[in-house]
Structure formats: C-alpha cells, structure tokens
Symmetry: C2
Subunit: 244 residues, 2 copies
C-alpha cells in the first residue's frame, strides 16, 4: 500500500465516521515540486465571487469563496516549504467555448503544473433556457479539443477534470435536465480518461451525501451553486482524489 493510499484511508475513516459519508475514489500519484503553479478553471462554481481586479496567486480575495480557496488553504499550509502559486481563474457563466476563448492568457501562459477544470453546467443550463444551442456532443468535442490544445502547449501539466454535478432541487427541478445531463457527465469522464486526467467524482460524492440523509438544498440551495458545506465537501474530495 502506498503512503498516499494509507493517508487517504486514514482520512476517509475519520471523516467518514464524523460525516456518515464514505467515498471510494482512488488517489493518484501527483507529487508537487518547489514553485509549482496550480490553476483552477471553470464557471461560477469555481469563480465563487473572486475579485477579478487583481488575480494574484495565493490571495484570499483572488481565490474567491469556494472550493479553490479551501483547497489552496490546505495546500499552502501543508506544503509551506514548496512556495506554491495557486490561481483561481473561474468565470461565472462560462461554458467550454468561453474557456477556449480566454485559454491563452488564463491557462497556457500560467504554465500550471496541475490544471483543474470544472465545466459543463452552463453548457446545458444555457441550452435549456434558450441562450445557447450546443448539444452534449458539442460539449464533448469542445472539451476534448481544449484538452488536446492544452496538452500540445503544456506537455508536462497534470490534468484534473472535475465531474459536472447538479443537486435535484432549485433550478434543476425546472426544465428537462435529464437524461441530457447524465450523457454530458459520461462524456466528461470519457474526455478525461482519453486525456489521462485525474477524475474527481463530484456527482457521486453529492449523491452519497444526499443518500446519507441530508437534503440536496443543504449542499447547493439552487441545485447548482454549492453552499459553504458543499464547497468544503468538494475541497476534501478533490484533495483526497488528487492525493496532494
């Protein structure tokens, strides 16, 4: 058993007892080096109210109020000797083509050692409300092309693809999210696997949390945007899955 695997199991045991939730994700073999940059990319869930004026690494305002901030706190605390640089560049409302449009400045030029992407909920939501016409296949192909472009520019970057998720409450009760959303989740996994990315299973994580007895609104009041508790659960699962 590797050290990461052991730490993960210890952590799962203690936290699982406290929360009544158990996960079965397999940790990866990411290891951080001195001066590494970690970049969080995505939509409003990643953005989480960050201050876009300064966009400084490791800065409380620039990191927003969501899972990137909580992950950054833990990583900067637990790897203090490494001088990590952690950025949040999520932008509210973004879909895959929006990431593609700003990818040079907001990803490639930052040369991240670890690139974490959570994208997809607007690709379907904006289609449901008539503001966009991309299909599930548009999402799959665009996401795959974005990762291909990234791999060509950044051969050594470790990719982390976060599973798009919804909670069955709020806005998600209006409109025909299913089965389209499930198709898109499966496509995201397919794209992640083909790109050799680490897969962070946020949908199954929230499904298990709800199955353990909490209301979906507890984790995301509108079904899309996580609560403080939801972001904290995401941060914990991200760190355990990525293994850093």
């Amino acid at each position: 058993m590797t050290k990461n695997r052991r730490q993960f199991l210890q952590s799962t045991t203690a936290a699982g007892l406290a929360s009544g939730i158990a996960f079965s994700a397999e940790p990866s073999n990411v290891s951080l080096k001195e001066g590494d940059t970690i970049l969080f990319q995505g939509d409003s869930i990643t953005d989480a109210g960050r201050d876009k004026k300064h966009q400084k690494a490791n800065d409380g305002r620039s990191l927003g109020r969501g899972y990137p901030h909580q992950i950054a706190g833990g990583l900067l605390r637990d790897h203090a000797a490494l001088g990590l640089k952690i950025h949040n560049r999520g932008i509210s409302g973004n879909k895959v083509p929006d990431l593609d449009n700003r990818w040079q400045a907001d990803c490639l030029e930052l040369t991240p050692a670890v690139l974490s992407i959570l994208i997809g909920v607007n690709d379907i939501w904006h289609k449901l409300n008539g503001r966009y016409d991309g299909t599930a296949e548009t999402y799959r192909d665009g996401f795959a092309a974005l990762l291909k472009r990234t791999r060509e520019a950044l051969p050594d970057t470790r990719f982390v693809v976060c599973e798009p998720f919804v909670l069955k409450c709020g806005a998600v009760l209006q409109g025909e999210w299913f089965p389209d959303f499930d198709t898109r989740r499966a496509y995201a996994k397919e794209v992640a696997d083909k790109a050799g990315a680490i897969w962070v299973p946020f949908q199954s994580m929230f499904d298990e949390a709800v199955a353990a007895g909490t209301k979906p609104e507890y984790w995301a009041h509108d079904g899309v945007h996580p609560s403080v508790a939801g972001h904290a659960l995401m941060a914990k699962t991200w760190r355990e899955t990525v293994g850093i």
Copy 2:
C-alpha cells in the same frame, strides 16, 4: 484514551508528516447537539472581509475569507445532520471594550453553544500608535469582565479563547511590542483558564511553523493579518484543539 484524543493523534500524525509541524494541544470534550449555534468573535483577523449587510448563518459572504469560514466549512460538512448555525461577528479594529459595547446584540442574543473569541492585538497596537491608552491590565480586567458577563447570561455556553498572536515581521517590527505583548498573551491565558475556556495556542502554533523553516511573512505578511495559509493553519489547529 478517549475517542477525541485518538482522532486528534491520528490527525496530528498525518498532518504533522505533511507539514513538518507538530502540536501538542490537548483536545477538549466539546460535543455538538442538533441546532447548535457556533459564534466567532474578534477583530479584523476574525472579520476577514465578511459582508456585514446580511450577517446570515452559514453564508459564504457573511463568514468572510478567514479561519471562521474554513472552520465553518469543515463543521457543516462533517456534521451535516446537526443543522448547525455558524456566525462570524468579528469587526475590524475591535478591542475588548468594543466587544463589550456590542455584546448584547452580537453575542448574548445569538445564544451560542460554542463561543470563540480572538481579541487583543488592537488593544496593544492602538496603544503603540497613540489611539488608545489601555494597559495590559486594562486588557486582562476587561476581558475577564466580558467573560463573567457572558457566563452570567449564558450558563451553558462553551468558551473558546484563542491566543492573540503576532508574527515578527511587517508592522510588528515597528514599535515596542515586546515584552508588553507577551504579558498580554499570558493574561489572556489566565483569563481563559479562570473562565474554564478551551485555549487555542495560536502563538505557539505560528512559532513552530516559523521554526520549521518558513518565513513569518508566509503566514502573515504584515505580522498581524494571516495569509490564506495562516488562516488554514488556524482553522486546523482550532478544530483539533476544540475537538469538533
């Protein structure tokens, strides 16, 4: 060995290995009940840019960007079944008399099950820059009176007193902070012990972090206000020490 003690030691082992920092605080016997309120009180370190317009429990904006937010995330995630209500009512610039002035509305009326207070750095800082004339004894006696008043109004509340701290950098290199600051830290401990409070040793925590090889600026650039890493270290130590 109690369950809390066991969990603490496991957690210390894993986290200590990762961060190179070891702590020796003794966990308490706090246990949370359904619907409990947890209140964080203090100055700018606790405030940490919170939105004061709404002041809603468990709300990302209302919790600010500091240790109360990170603790709240962890507690709301790990005790999802309890329906906890977590408030941050720290206000930038506050000293002990400022807390006393707003204590009825900002503490007693919230009837917290757990009350966490971090106060003291402005009581000396504002004296050093000529905006206040309270001595170390003024701080001690005012803090003791505040806790006595609180105990009379809230007989069942568990008190958590956080050790005031500074890092030796930034503003702390200007002016004669020592030995006055150390006297005040000792008084805070004395007040906490007399009130039966749990003591969270933030100064020794940061001292050990610096001794492990990181610059003081890494944890608080101006010597007073913690970085994202500093807040995350505080949150971890708070949870381990309070045992929830």
